[in-house]
């Protein structure tokens, strides 16, 4: 009879749990909630929900919310932050927006996915009016990549200026002075010296990210897409850029890396072990260094990227997250105002540098010596030279690649197929690019 008791007890608990599971769903719908940030909000505060795939972004909002609630006692906010994995969050957001149910008020959308959310009539609120007060101080191109037909739908987090990260320990061992590297030819000579003296590679030939191709195209004033947004990946400029990289690979200057590009956990390990001397990455790579490569503290120097010919622009913006307000937001104006405050105001941009280690879009911050050169800042401490010295040197040279509906497809084909064929299998560059062009066109049909 004991058994019977257990069975009925079990059944009861099941039913109860099922019921509670159902009950929860009706109130939260498609979204889950992870943490509610009160940040000193009072009784009458409006509750807004926010989805992100980067936990730190939530932390940043938490800091800004405290200030907002103190400054706006009549418009206080409680923020529900949900952190989901990258793919999962974008997939769920996309479905929620298109079906018109279950979307949050505010959400992060990564640049690579952004064009998908601008298809047709975007289910996002235009943010022009709240951006306007800050427009003169922020980098225009970072707003443009989240825009369609003159409407700005996303608020940027950083510039993502690409730079070179040099491991000076390896370079010194090989007798190379990185400050003398200006062109790819210089880089090649230095790299050959490094390989000869230390047996280590100077840099990486990326196969799972297209940062390097962006840099090469920007230097030549070209892009992945033409003026009408059509893919053009087999242009002479692209061939030339890849040819330079391939040539470096053949000379043992650069080599493919575990993980396929510097921003992967396998590659962090390779760098931390000192197997590669250079990473060409957007500036946000800094936080990867401080988080995952503790052994390199004090050894990494930041410098402009080599160019094909002197005088060409030395940087390009890479990656990024646009924060959006959805059409179904409870209080659109409140969400927009808070968002602009939390990401575009001067305080916000100082905070973005301090806690996230990003190059803020508000250029005024770049000139605030006490902020950028604060000796207590963990990023200032970690790197050999100050990142803002380099940023200010190249600030007028930061180009950007267009983000258009075709971009996600182009990126996908490049990072899964084309770059692998070229750098892993040694396939002919022009052939691989022609195939890529055909594949992209077919997929976009």
């Amino acid at each position: 009879m004991k058994k019977k008791g257990i069975v009925s007890l079990m059944l009861l608990s099941l039913l109860l749990s099922l019921l509670t599971a159902c009950g929860n769903s009706s109130s939260t719908n498609a979204s889950g909630e992870q943490s509610v940030i009160d940040a000193g909000a009072g009784e009458g505060a409006t509750e807004l929900s926010y989805w992100t795939f980067v936990e730190l972004h939530g932390k940043h909002f938490e800091k800004m919310l405290e200030k907002w609630n103190a400054e706006n006692p009549d418009r206080q906010i409680k923020l529900n932050v949900t952190v989901m994995p990258y793919d999962d969050m974008h997939n769920k957001l996309s479905i929620a927006l298109q079906t018109g149910t279950g979307a949050p008020d505010i959400a992060d959308i990564e640049l690579g996915k952004f064009p998908d959310f601008l298809k047709g009539t975007p289910q996002l609120e235009p943010l022009n009016d709240v951006i306007d007060p800050y427009r003169d101080t922020i980098v225009k191109s970072r707003i443009d990549i989240y825009s369609k037909d003159g409407q700005n739908y996303g608020i940027p987090t950083h510039v993502g200026a690409s730079v070179a990260f040099y491991n000076t320990e390896i370079l010194e061992e090989a007798g190379v002075d990185y400050t003398k590297i200006e062109t790819w030819d210089d880089f090649k000579k230095a790299g050959e010296q490094v390989y000869e003296k230390t047996g280590k590679y100077m840099g990486t030939a990326d196969t799972s990210a297209a940062w390097q191709e962006s840099m090469m195209l920007a230097q030549q004033g070209s892009d992945f897409t033409d003026a009408d947004g059509n893919p053009q990946v087999n242009t002479p400029e692209m061939v030339k850029g890849l040819q330079i990289l391939k040539d470096l690979q053949d000379a043992n200057v650069i080599s493919t890396i575990a993980g396929g590009q510097p921003d992967t956990e396998e590659a962090y390990g390779e760098y931390n072990s000192g197997n590669y001397a250079t990473a060409f990455m957007p500036l946000w790579m800094m936080s990867r260094f401080t988080n995952y490569m503790p052994d390199l503290a004090g050894k990494i120097a930041i410098a402009p990227i080599p160019v094909i010919e002197k005088g060409m622009p030395r940087s390009v913006g890479g990656g990024g997250t646009g924060t959006v307000v959805t059409k179904t937001a409870k209080d659109v104006q409140l969400a927009k105002d808070f968002l602009a405050y939390a990401k575009l105001s001067e305080e916000a941009n100082v905070e973005i540098w301090n806690t996230l280690g990003f190059d803020p879009v508000n250029m005024k911050v770049w000139d605030m010596k006490d902020v950028t050169h604060n000796p207590e800042n963990e990023f200032v401490k970690y790197f050999k030279n100050n990142p803002f010295d380099v940023l200010n040197e190249i600030r007028d040279e930061i180009k950007y690649v267009k983000s258009v509906p075709a971009s996600p497809t182009i990126n996908n084909v490049f990072c899964t197929v084309t770059l692998n064929e070229i750098f892993e299998d040694g396939r002919d560059i022009k052939e691989a690019l022609d195939d890529a062009q055909a594949q992209i066109e077919q997929e976009l049909q």
Partner: protein
């Protein structure tokens, strides 16, 4: 009145099977039906749905990546059949041998990997087959003076990793299936054969193999199904659905990519229907060949 109706011997069976009917209608017939419908449509969520006839299917035929995924799934399925049927059968016969020491222990050890989640197993194998010289497989190869291999970047080596994962997880399970099949073969058959002076191989050929046929058919059927529908193994081994040059992309992976990652629901539905037809056809042919439909068997 209602009570008497419900309690009658005529109605009772329907009450018993009602849960199945409901589940079947709601969670199988309806989704399957809408899958078929969707495969003839161009669906942009939140916008008008367009009927486009067979366009999705004709597009699939010319879609190199889809064909690649079909190829991958088919090759994977074939390889798992070639490895995971003869090998477990042989092991079952060996372990069933009366000269076997520690049978129960070995049985359990070989079976245990099946209990680990694919998420855990896939991650462990991804790290084991990492391309650094220090990772497990490469350091092992290093003892024999073999250069480190970039396992997960090559078609063949990538499949080696995939198949290693599959073998690791299913070897013991399939062995158990064959063992339970062996149990049903009476001992006197072997004794009689011994008296006739049959060799071990002859006994295996003439008694074991034919009498294991039902088990083999069962294992074959579930392996075909599992092989064609494989997805999570690839997802975990490459830590995402985008393997280099799509070497690990499977049919279900492509369905997931189109349907969930790109919101091309109609196109993804067509991929699903092709998979369904493929799985049904192969299984029907297999069952017909192995004579399951013959009354005599």
């Amino acid at each position: 009145m209602i009570k008497r109706f419900l309690y009658s011997q005529k109605v009772a069976p329907y009450v018993f099977v009602l849960p199945f009917i409901l589940v079947f209608l709601i969670f199988w017939v309806y989704p399957l039906g809408s899958s078929v419908t969707m495969s003839f449509q161009k669906i942009t969520l939140g916008q008008e749905t367009e009927w486009i006839g067979l366009d999705n299917y004709t597009k699939l035929l010319g879609d190199k990546i889809f064909l690649k995924s079909v190829m991958n799934s088919a090759v994977y399925m074939l390889c798992t059949l070639l490895i995971l049927i003869p090998l477990p059968m042989l092991l079952a016969v060996l372990i069933n041998n009366k000269f076997m020491w520690g049978r129960e222990f070995f049985k359990s050890s070989l079976f245990f990997p099946a209990l680990t989640s694919v998420v855990v197993a896939g991650t462990v194998f991804r790290l084991m087959f990492g391309e650094m010289d220090g990772s497990l497989i490469n350091s092992f190869l290093g003892w024999f003076g073999i250069e480190p291999v970039k396992f997960l970047k090559g078609q063949v080596t990538g499949f080696i990793a995939l198949l290693a994962l599959a073998t690791w997880r299913w070897l013991g399970v399939n062995m158990l299936y064959f063992l339970s099949g062996l149990k049903s073969i009476p001992d006197d058959y072997y004794e009689a054969a011994s008296i006739d002076g049959a060799s071990a191989w002859q006994k295996f050929r003439m008694i074991t193999m034919p009498l294991l046929k039902p088990t083999t058919i069962y294992v074959l059927t579930i392996s075909i199904y599992a092989g064609l529908a494989m997805f999570i193994e690839s997802l975990m081994l490459w830590n995402g659905n985008n393997s280099p040059k799509n070497i690990g992309l499977t049919i279900v992976g492509y369905l997931y990519r189109q349907g969930i990652e790109k919101s091309n629901l109609g196109y993804a539905a067509a991929v699903g229907i092709v998979l369904l037809v493929l799985a049904m056809t192969i299984n029907m042919i297999q069952l017909a060949f192995s004579g399951l439909f013959k009354k005599e068997d």
